[in-house]
């Protein structure tokens, strides 16, 4: 049934994005599409799931199955898809507000459970779609519509948080670096378990501080330094650096069984979604005998 022709990024193009010209999310979208092709996926084998936000519009722009759901809820939806049909490749896409603000609880627990999802966050350190308010990753002092005198909150570090929550693949990209980001996403898809790829993706309309220029001046690749991705302490050290240098690359990776590998119900019988709805007479007999 499944025809396996080699596909290219183009085959994963959906409708044209209506993001602002120059928006960082274009680069991320591009990288996701390339990564799908690089991994050798077929569009119908992939489900791209998002919440709500500029970044969360991505599923419509991608030629795979897509779920464009509720603000902050991409991960529960994605987990549902993956658990019910673990043969599918499931990617969650979203923004910093969506994932680390309203979605922080789900992020914590999806990472902890090591659900086999690749989570691509387009982190612009602002709420874009709602026209520019502080986000959990906004840096102190950032002036936004909700902080006209500058933010006074300590920012959330998604990399260190993901590592501590139990994510087994944790990376940071920059949307201007399509080649690097593509590789991080592709490896994240290949990784079995929960992978986070947090991507700095400038909002050119509302965040006047964390711009393309800002990152271009500061980004340094972990490849260029000595970093052992199995060493969480070093990973956190690099991830915490936020000054003249900001690191991108794979911070942390470890192999441990993912939730679908752990749940005995998936050991045989194939995906939940494809099982017969009607019970078998044997199953019914067991249910009946429990009643008596």
């Amino acid at each position: 049934m499944t025809t396996t022709i080699e596909l290219t990024a183009k085959d994963f193009k959906g409708v044209d994005p209506d993001w602002c010209p120059g928006c960082g999310h274009f680069g991320v979208l591009n990288s996701i599409q390339r990564a799908y092709a690089d991994v050798g996926l077929q569009p119908h084998e992939v489900v791209t799931v998002s919440g709500i936000g500029c970044s969360s519009n991505a599923p419509g722009y991608i030629n795979t199955y897509g779920m464009h759901t509720l603000h902050g809820r991409a991960l529960p939806f994605a987990t549902g898809v993956k658990m019910a049909n673990h043969e599918l490749t499931v990617i969650a896409t979203g923004g910093d507000g969506d994932g680390y603000g309203i979605g922080a609880g789900h992020f914590t627990h999806a990472a902890r459970r090591n659900v086999d999802i690749t989570y691509v966050v387009m982190n612009n350190q602002i709420y874009g779609l709602t026209t520019g308010q502080m986000s959990p990753t906004s840096r102190p002092g950032l002036t936004t519509k909700s902080t006209p005198f500058g933010s006074i909150e300590y920012p959330y570090n998604p990399i260190t948080a993901a590592i501590m929550n139990g994510a087994t693949y944790v990376a940071r990209g920059y949307s201007g670096d399509i080649r690097g980001t593509t590789k991080l996403i592709a490896d994240g898809i290949r990784h079995k378990g929960f992978s986070l790829i947090d991507i700095h993706s400038p909002c050119v309309t509302f965040n006047m501080e964390n711009t393309h220029d800002f990152f271009k001046q500061r980004i340094k690749k972990l490849d260029e330094v000595e970093h052992d991705a199995s060493d969480w302490k070093q990973a956190c050290d690099y991830a915490m650096e936020w000054g003249d240098t900001i690191y991108t690359g794979l911070f942390f990776e470890v192999q441990s069984p993912s939730l679908s590998q752990l749940d005995p119900i998936l050991k045989e019988g194939g995906p939940i979604a494809k099982r017969d709805l009607q019970l078998t007479p044997e199953q019914v007999d067991r249910l009946k005998s429990r009643l008596m």
Binding site: R73, G80, I265, P271, L287
Partner: protein, 592 residues
């Protein structure tokens, strides 16, 4: 004379092991083929407090725990002090006479003291008092000791022979003490041909889901819905279903939609507070047109309220769940077996009409235990998935997820199929899923899509059976209720007949769609109408009036956390007919 009807109450505190004698007696009754039901009044506390378990067994089907107690077993002084006054002539009161001082009983009440220390040779007397009592009860009911012996053997065999023997010994001591000291009940306990089983309302909901094909169950624990989670946790492996405990109800409500999008039938259950958190997702499921079913097992509110008490207080929450106008089914099962039957029905409807379904159960139904005859249950119900596409297609099918159709239902392809790639979206969208909220917000397309969805429900009432009136035609009074009040209304009819009032009743289960024509017909043919509901504000009465304009002649309401007893309704009917009161709130006699 009237058929066999025996109610046994056991009172004590949490941790005194009330469940065990309750379970043993329940099994003994249903093995004789008798009907059985029980109601447990307890508190939100793990040990201590006051528990009052009422077990009723009958020859004819009864749904409520009734109005009388024939036998009261006091496991502590508190029970004696609180409930002795409720006991009428002909009833019996058992208690540990070593520790409990009986109060002043009404004439004709037999006080049956059990000298537990003596009878058990003092061996772990505290723990064994329940078994002694069960032995005594067995005699009082006129059963042979052998059945208890078998039952105890089964119950304790995991703990080894010594424990079995010990239990049989003390039970026998109780039995024999009763022979010597107490009088049996005059009515002979029937032995019918076919044994029954026992389940709780939560078991029924869960099993109904299982036979409907639920293969993904997710939940966050919340009383009184947790029994559904426990059922799936215990039985999931048998039926090939995944069971996930999630970090919160928001996660639950959304994960089941994600799973359903792949084609699985998915279910979750919660109570009012958790349901409040789920509402946003319910609107999303409807907008994306993905079927899944949410159970809200109602408890006494508002807010945290009284977690271990019953109420029908979430009707308006279900009606008002999530913003905007959208399609969803709402059904309130009227008893446990109805709950089982409704699950495949609502799953078929949600699949066929591609929207979520809400099941409003309550603590009374869900945590109550009932006899059940498995042969009356359909374990292989028809599975109707409507225009759900689950097979891949080759090439470009030109598939549009939200295609305009005459009845508003668009063929739904599940995620992962070759040939049907599409996006589902909570933003307003076009036939091809393109967002109407973006770039060009076309009001005509928006209107057309709203109307497509709403067409699905235009003739929806034809899809469900109209509610049936029960009882004599042309009665003096017609009672109208919804959901769990079925039990007390059903059992109130004979009481009313005894008082010279003929009554019939209508139990509405489908809230959306509502069978307005049938209900209007019932009102039109009634001599006097009374709405019965287990809440303060008359949630159903207000909803019914909004949908039909119908206003009853009277109301009977209860909102003290306890369910109606049949005589509460009979009293209310009498009062109302005498025109004493338009709204009757019964007094709860049993206080735990």
């Amino acid at each position: 004379m009237s058929s066999y009807d025996m109610a046994i109450a056991i009172g004590g505190e949490a941790g005194q092991g009330i469940a065990t004698p309750g379970d043993i007696l329940a099994r003994l009754f249903v093995r004789r083929g008798l009907y059985f039901n029980s109601y447990n009044a307890f508190q939100s506390i793990v040990r201590g407090g006051h528990i009052f378990l009422t077990l009723r067994t009958t020859e004819e089907m009864k749904y409520s725990h009734g109005d009388k107690i024939d036998l009261l077993l006091c496991l502590n002084q508190d029970t004696m002090d609180k409930h002795l006054h409720f006991m009428k002539a002909g009833s019996k009161v058992l208690y540990n006479s070593d520790k409990i001082t009986p109060g002043k009983a009404a004439d004709g009440v037999q006080l049956c003291g059990l000298p537990i220390a003596d009878l058990t040779g003092n061996a772990r007397a505290g723990l064994n008092q329940n078994t002694v009592a069960v032995g005594a009860i067995l005699y009082l009911l006129g059963m042979e000791f052998q059945v208890l012996k078998d039952s105890l053997t089964q119950q304790f065999q995991r703990k080894g022979e010594a424990v079995v023997n010990e239990n049989i010994k003390v039970a026998q001591a109780g039995f024999e003490h009763a022979i010597k000291q107490f009088e049996q009940f005059p009515d002979e306990i029937p032995m019918l041909e076919k044994p029954r089983g026992v389940w709780s309302g939560n078991d029924a909901l869960a099993m109904g889901g299982a036979v409907a094909g639920v293969k993904f169950y997710a939940a966050y624990p919340m009383s009184p819905s947790t029994g559904v989670l426990h059922w799936f946790a215990n039985n999931g492996r048998n039926i090939g279903a995944m069971v996930r405990q999630i970090e919160d109800e928001i996660g639950v409500a959304n994960i089941v939609i994600g799973a359903a999008h792949t084609g699985a039938r998915t279910l979750s259950a919660t109570s009012g507070g958790g349901f409040a958190l789920m509402t946003e997702a319910i609107g999303a499921a409807s907008m994306m047109e993905i079927p899944t079913v949410y159970i809200d097992v109602m408890r006494a509110g508002p807010s945290t309220g009284v977690p271990t008490k019953t109420e029908q207080g979430d009707l308006w929450q279900a009606l008002g769940a999530s913003q905007g106008d959208f399609q969803r089914f709402i059904v309130a099962p009227i008893h446990a077996q109805d709950a089982f039957n409704l699950m495949p029905e609502i799953f078929n409807l949600t699949d066929r009409f591609q929207c979520p379904g809400i099941v409003l159960s309550d603590l009374l139904i869900s945590e109550g235990h009932y006899s059940v005859d498995p042969d009356e249950l359909d374990f292989f119900p028809a599975i109707e998935r409507g225009v759900t596409i689950t097979e891949p297609a080759a090439g470009n099918t030109g598939y549009h997820r939200y295609k305009f159709t005459e009845n508003g239902v668009s063929p739904r392809a599940v995620a992962g199929l070759e040939g049907y790639i599409h996006v589902v979206a909570t933003d307003e969208h076009e036939e091809n899923s393109g967002l109407i909220s973006d770039e060009f917000t076309n009001p005509h397309k928006r209107r057309a899509m709203v109307e497509k969805r709403s067409r699905k429900f235009e003739n929806i009432v034809a899809e469900i059976a109209p509610p049936e009136i029960i009882g004599p035609a042309d009665a003096d009074v017609t009672l109208i209720g919804w959901g769990s009040t079925f039990a007390a209304m059903h059992d109130a009819l004979p009481l009313l007949a005894d008082r010279g009032i003929t009554a019939n009743f209508l139990s509405v289960k489908w809230i959306v769609p509502l069978h307005t024509e049938r209900i209007a017909e019932v009102f039109a043919n009634a001599n006097h109408t009374i709405i019965v509901e287990n809440n303060q504000s008359g949630q159903f009465a207000r909803y019914l009036r909004g949908e039909t304009g119908l206003v009853p002649d009277g109301h009977i309401r209860k909102y003290d956390g306890e369910p109606f007893m049949p005589h509460h309704i009979a009293d209310g009917v009498e009062e109302n007919l005498k025109n004493n009161t338009e709204q009757f709130i019964p007094f709860q006699e049993i206080v735990v």
